[in-house]
């Protein structure tokens, strides 16, 4: 409950630690004066998990202490109690879900955006079903207590209870988002529609906030819980505004990125080079991605995630994109001078994930972009083995740059071309290319199926999960 507040305090403390501790500060700077994204701090996330648990326990207990044994034995008492409890826990879990996608930097750096989204999706069925149950149980409980019919009670609740109407609208909006997120339906809906419906969830939560405070037995006449609950929600709203809106707007305005050149790299693959101000101050690590919004008439409303294909070279940043969808195909037609809004960088596919001294980097298709910038960011002496896979040699984008970087780091480059059957990476071929595989970190980037296959192979060959790092993109 007080999660967000504590997170803030913790982060402030950690920020101070970084600024006072010399080695940590040095680590966020590269030799070239570029700013690196701060190191992940798993300790903070562990603390956050404990606080999230504390909140859940406190919320549950709050629902229980608000009840007396007398109330339970009264008509509709048990049902009403269950209704209040499911409402409290459901709302608390909704708060956690918002926090999981609020782009809190310290969470992003440890769990990664895909990890956080996975948790968000895994958690999602709970708050929605608990809140629906809450509405049903309380209506039934009140109907029992007043000895009226269920439907009559629905009317009474909505029409004469304060803030119940808006809470009902909120619940409706939540159900809408829940339905559209069901996998079978989600696949048939445009991303933008899904996103907009999701946006309404903030409205839904705002709508349902008041009835909790005004009617909830744990809050009526309890100023302390009222204040703590309100503060938790206000802090969460603040975090969402700060990190989903404020920070991207700030970075966009500060760096003033504009397209300077669109350069073909391979068939269907283009590099977009943007020029901006203070690019050396963008805290980015090799292998990370940003959400790019190209402010043209027909693209401004879409933000898509693309990896940087090189570390920033002030005043330039570069992303490399393969034409696989409408958006990425349209990038080839970008005019120089187009303004660019950015959000990020995000991603845990960085040198911070590295557990061992040496690494093997595996990329398929356009996954090469993340590997290319990661390679540039790896410390010297990592002797990287880089494996690139593509259908044809001419499809290997950026291969010249990669060969150069690999050579300078004393590593080896393997190019696998051919059909999937011919150039497969499996339990037999991988050890031949990388004999000391089990002593290396495995970084793999490519389409989802490819990444999943390599992860399986690496596990099979004895690479522990902590040493396997992957970034997948959906086609």
């Amino acid at each position: 409950m007080i999660l967000s507040l504590l997170c803030r305090i913790l982060r402030r403390v950690s920020a101070r630690q970084i600024s006072t501790a010399r080695p940590a500060a040095a680590a966020t700077r590269r030799a070239g004066g570029l700013r690196r994204s701060p190191a992940p701090r798993p300790g903070l996330v562990r603390a956050g998990l404990i606080v999230a648990g504390l909140g859940l326990g406190a919320t549950t207990a709050l629902g229980i202490t608000a009840e007396t044994s007398g109330q339970l034995t009264a008509a509709g008492g048990v049902v009403t109690f269950a209704g209040n409890l499911t409402g409290l826990i459901g709302t608390y879990l909704a708060l956690i879900m918002v926090l999981l996608v609020s782009r809190i930097p310290f969470l992003e750096r440890v769990a990664g955006q895909d990890g956080l989204l996975r948790w968000h999706r895994r958690l999602a069925p709970w708050p929605i079903s608990l809140l629906v149950l809450h509405a049903i149980l309380l209506t039934a409980g009140y109907a029992q207590a007043t000895r009226t019919g269920l439907w009559h009670q629905v009317g009474t609740l909505i029409l004469s209870y304060p803030d119940i109407l808006s809470a009902t609208v909120g619940l409706g909006l939540m159900c809408m988002a829940a339905v559209i997120s069901i996998r079978a339906i989600r696949r048939r809906v445009r991303r933008e529609v899904w996103w907009t419906v999701h946006l309404y969830l903030y409205l839904a939560l705002a709508f349902s906030f008041a009835h909790v405070i005004v009617l909830g037995p744990s809050f009526v006449g309890h100023p302390l819980t009222q204040v703590v609950w309100s503060a938790a929600w206000a802090a969460t709203a603040g975090l969402v505004l700060a990190y989903r809106v404020g920070l991207p707007v700030y970075r966009t305005l500060r760096h003033q990125l504009r397209v300077t050149e669109v350069r073909p790299e391979a068939p269907g693959v283009v590099s977009v080079i943007c020029q901006g101000r203070h690019v050396d101050q963008l805290p980015v690590s090799g292998g990370q991605f940003l959400f790019w919004r190209f402010l043209t008439r027909d693209m401004w409303w879409q933000a898509h995630p693309y990896s940087l294909s090189a570390l920033p070279q002030p005043p330039y940043v570069r992303l490399t994109v393969k034409a696989v969808g409408d958006h990425s195909a349209a990038l080839a037609r970008l005019q120089p001078g187009t303004r660019v809004a950015v959000e990020g960088p995000y991603g845990t596919f960085t040198r911070y994930a590295q557990q061992r001294r040496r690494v093997v980097l595996i990329a398929a298709g356009i996954g090469v972009t993340a590997v290319r910038s990661l390679l540039e960011d790896l410390p010297r002496g990592t002797k990287p083995v880089v494996i690139l896979r593509a259908a044809r040699t001419e499809d290997l984008a950026l291969r010249g740059e990669i060969a150069d970087l690999v050579q300078r780091r004393g590593g080896r480059l393997h190019e696998l071309t051919g059909s999937r059957a011919q150039a497969t990476i499996d339990e037999r071929s991988l050890p031949r290319i990388v004999p000391d595989l089990s002593d290396r970190d495995v970084y793999v980037c490519g389409p989802e199926a490819f990444v999943a296959g390599i992860v399986d192979v690496a596990r099979c060959l004895g690479v522990p999960d902590e040493a396997i790092h992957h970034e997948a993109f959906a086609l």
């Binding site: 648990g53 504390l54 326990g57 406190a58 007398g70 009264a74 008509a75 302390l224």
Partner: protein, 161 residues
């Protein structure tokens, strides 16, 4: 983050126990009159206490009959979250002879209904217990609490223990 579920569970247990063991004082609604409870049962104090409590909470009054033993007083308006109420009590000596709710207002009909159902039961409980020390009505905890508080204030005014 393999230990993530463990950490969350530990936190949940701690938070749960923490709140359960955290004791708050019971809700006390305040009305202007509460700050100045009348200590004396005499008629002279009645004027001051009723003045302090405002028009809603009338002070103790003597019964018209020659007996000085029958007195009555209203407690104070107590807000109980879903509404507010005030209780008037009549005593003969220290024997509670009548209790009534002089003022009941709630935010919405269900609470009104619940309170109205509970009030007669509270009345009979008070009359049989002969004090404000009653269990309260299940399903109407807030109403009961407010009722008892207002009743106690009225009894205090009459100096009935």
């Amino acid at each position: 983050m393999k230990r993530a579920p463990l950490l969350v569970l530990a936190g949940t247990a701690a938070g749960f126990v923490g709140v359960l063991t955290f004791h708050t004082r019971p809700v006390s609604a305040t009305t202007p009159g509460q700050a100045q409870p009348s200590a004396m049962p005499s008629a002279s104090s009645a004027a001051t206490s009723s003045a302090a409590a405002g028009p809603a909470a009338a002070g103790p009054t003597r019964a018209a009959a020659g007996s000085t033993l029958v007195r009555s007083a209203a407690g104070q308006i107590v807000q109980f979250g879903y509404g507010e109420l005030n209780v008037r009590v009549t005593v003969n000596g220290s024997h509670i002879t009548a209790v009534s709710v002089t003022d009941l207002q709630t935010a919405e009909p269900t609470s009104q209904q619940i309170s109205e159902q509970a009030i007669p039961m509270l009345r009979s409980e008070v009359l049989s217990a002969q004090s404000a020390n009653v269990n309260g009505i299940s399903g109407a905890t807030f109403t009961s609490r407010a009722y008892v508080q207002s009743l106690q204030a009225a009894l205090d005014k009459l100096n009935v223990k």
